[in-house]
Structures are given as structure tokens and as C-alpha cells.
Symmetry: C2
Subunit: 245 residues, 2 copies
Amino acid sequence: MTFELFYWPGLQGRGEFVRLAFEATATPYVEIVRGDSPGQGLDALLHAMDDPRCIDPPYAPPFLRVGDELIGQTANILAYLGPLLGLVGESPRARRWVNQLQLTLADLVAEVHDGHHPIASRLYYSNQRAEARKRTADLIDYRLPKFFEYFERVLAHNPHPGGWLSEGAMSYADLSLFQVIEGLYYAFPRAMTGFATAFPRCRAVRDAVAREPRIAAYLKSSRRIAFNTTGIFRYYRELDRASPF
Amino acid sequence: MTFELFYWPGLQGRGEFVRLAFEATATPYVEIVRGDSPGQGLDALLHAMDDPRCIDPPYAPPFLRVGDELIGQTANILAYLGPLLGLVGESPRARRWVNQLQLTLADLVAEVHDGHHPIASRLYYSNQRAEARKRTADLIDYRLPKFFEYFERVLAHNPHPGGWLSEGAMSYADLSLFQVIEGLYYAFPRAMTGFATAFPRCRAVRDAVAREPRIAAYLKSSRRIAFNTTGIFRYYRELDRASPF
């Protein structure tokens, strides 16, 4: 089984949540857009999305090609990969729970994106800077605390030892929580100053994931694209501010 | 097995996607917030969310209680109910595909919500009216066409007869597509004028769902809350406008 990942070039974006699942488990995968063989590159992504013979077209990247099946939507891809890669518990209940956590993280990711693009994704940030300042203020003052109080509570109430979100082992939701926290440190260094003190269990998940040998190696490799201002998490100095935490 | 649905009172909101699954299949369910027995009402919802003994707390309504399990996130609830209620195909591939479609519909729903609340969910619409006008213009001019061109294409490419999104039978994604289209007709009557002509297959799904005897009966019953300006789909005359379709 070959896993072919299709995602936009040059940014981590939502593709990164899928990459982390592969990297954490040393699972071979092909990044179609980064290859230059026939059937690879950006054209291959656009072709796969627009192929009129495709009966299961994705709405947007990231999507995975496995045989003749295209699997889109980040949480859907992870719900598929989780059991195959050992990144979720065995029971149906554990799988529902980790999917639920992933969907809540996806909501947070969408809110972070809309912080710099509150009016229109297709327009430049510079066209919506005033609105972005208002929305990001609300994100930092109200939304981030609400989301992280929730994840902190989930971690505190997990009866299994280990400090993970679900049961006693790292799941793909932990990988995604790591990625969201990393992204927020990049985008809002000032707001995140007190994060580790306010949300120690969340911070501990971030640290534990970063210490996983395969993840640590990945983060140092050229496969890890650096955060930049074309992704979801963007550093614009004028949007960063002191946070209530 | 008793299905207990927890959702805010007085609005359809995201709870409606779950209600439609129950109603379409004549599955008994208890609306906790609408009851006045012990353990029911709004207090019961707040209590269930804040119960410190809960190991799988939902971030937000809607959520379902089944035995001692709480299942949150609309798409996660439907991925759970779909197989139990016969609202998704048998194969893992069909289930992934319908989940993917549901998540794309969830993205659209979030964008519609942010049309009237582009700056902050916690503030009134009247505090973000100017920004709402800009964001809704983009929604109507660019986002709705992009989403419905996608669903129209999915319907056109489905090799099974019947006119449904997946395989040859109505799935929970069809119910959700119905709900989104209904909501848009309520919120944007002017923009939706040409919808049936521009997106005939989507419109046909809406009509087919509305004609299902159980859904038709539900829509006429007191259980169906009317659309109103506290839900996701809101009619504000100043936000409606001519659309490109």
C-alpha cells in the first residue's frame, strides 16, 4: 500500500497534520507535489482534483491517494490512517473520542486562519488588516483560552497515565495538538508567553511529541517546511498582543 | 439503546443535522433540553458539559449521550449514527466518502455562520455589521458558487442512479445538504433566486429529501424549530444580494 499525499507546496498548512502521522510512525509516504517524476508536481495535484473520471473528488487539499481512492478532509484522512498506523486506540469508543478531539482542533485551526483572513480567503491579508486586528484580538482574548481550558481539562480527566489526550498512548490528536501549539508560538510569541504556566498539561503534550525521536528527527529535516506567512499560522507583528493567560 | 440529544434551545443550529438523521429513520430520541422531567432542561445540558467526573467532555453542543458515553462534534455524531440508522453505505470506503462530504458541508456551515459573525461569535451581529456585509458579499459571490459547483460535480459523477451524493441511497450527507440549502433559501432569498437553475442536481437532492414522508411530516411538526435570527442561517435583509448564479 502506497500513501500518496497531495498538498500545496511551500507551506505546512493542513497537510502538516497528515505528515506528522506518517513521520511519527516512520510510515513511507510520497509527497506528490514535491516530486519531479512523471505524475508528480503541482500539475499532478491539480489534475487529480479536476479529473472528470473521479467519482470521489476532494473539495480541497490535503488529500491522500491510496490505490484508486482519494481521501480528503484532514480529520477524515486521520480517522483512516489512525488505526492503520497505530495512532488511535483499538476500541470504537476510543476512535470516536479521538475523532471528536481532532474535529475540535480543526475548529480551532479554522479560527486561527480566520484571524488573519476574517473577510475573504481569496484576498490578501493587506486587504483586511483592520478586520484581522479585531478578530485576532478576540481569538487571543477569548477563543484561545476557551479551547485550551478545554484541552487542559481533557488531559486532567484522562484516567490513564502518560499525559496523553486519549488512553495511555500518543494518538494523532496529540500530534495535532503539538502542531497547533507550535504554530501559535510562531504566530503569537507575545500572547503565548504565559502558555506553559497557564496550560501545563497541553504544554507537556507539545514537549512529549517534540521529544519523540522520529518527530525530533523530522523537525530537523528538510522535509519540515518552516512556518511562514503563507500558512495557517502567520506571524504579523501587529496582530500579536498580550494575552489573558 | 436510548439516544439523548443535547443542544441549545430555540434554534436549529448544528443540532438540526442530528435531528434530521433521527427523523428520517423514525428513530426515537430524547431532546434533553426540551424536556421538563428531572435530568432534563437547559440545566441538564450545562451539567453534562461541566461534570468533573466526565472523561470525554464535549467542547460544545450538539452532543449525544448513549449510555455513559458522550459523543460530540456533529460530523462525529453522524459518523456514529450513520451505520446504526442505515444512513450510509456498508463499505468502509463509502463511510469515508460520506464522512468527507459531511466535513465539507461542515466547512460551508462555518463559513455561513461567519458571514454574520466575522469578528467574534460572542458579540452581537450589530457590533460587526460592516464587516458582516463584506464577508457575506464574498460568501455569496465566491464561496457559495465554489461549494455548490463541487457538490453538483459530485452528484453528476456518482455512477449510481438515484441522484444521491453517495451510492444509490440517501445518506446523512444528503440530509445535511438539504438542511444547508433550506437554510440558504431562508437567509438569502435574493441570492438563491437562480439556485435551482444553476445547481439542478443539488436542488433535486433538497426536493427529494423534503418529499421523504418522514421528513415531510417532521417539517410540518412542532418538533421542527423555525429558522430564526439566532441560528446559523439568519435573514438580515442588508446582507442579502444578487448572486452570480
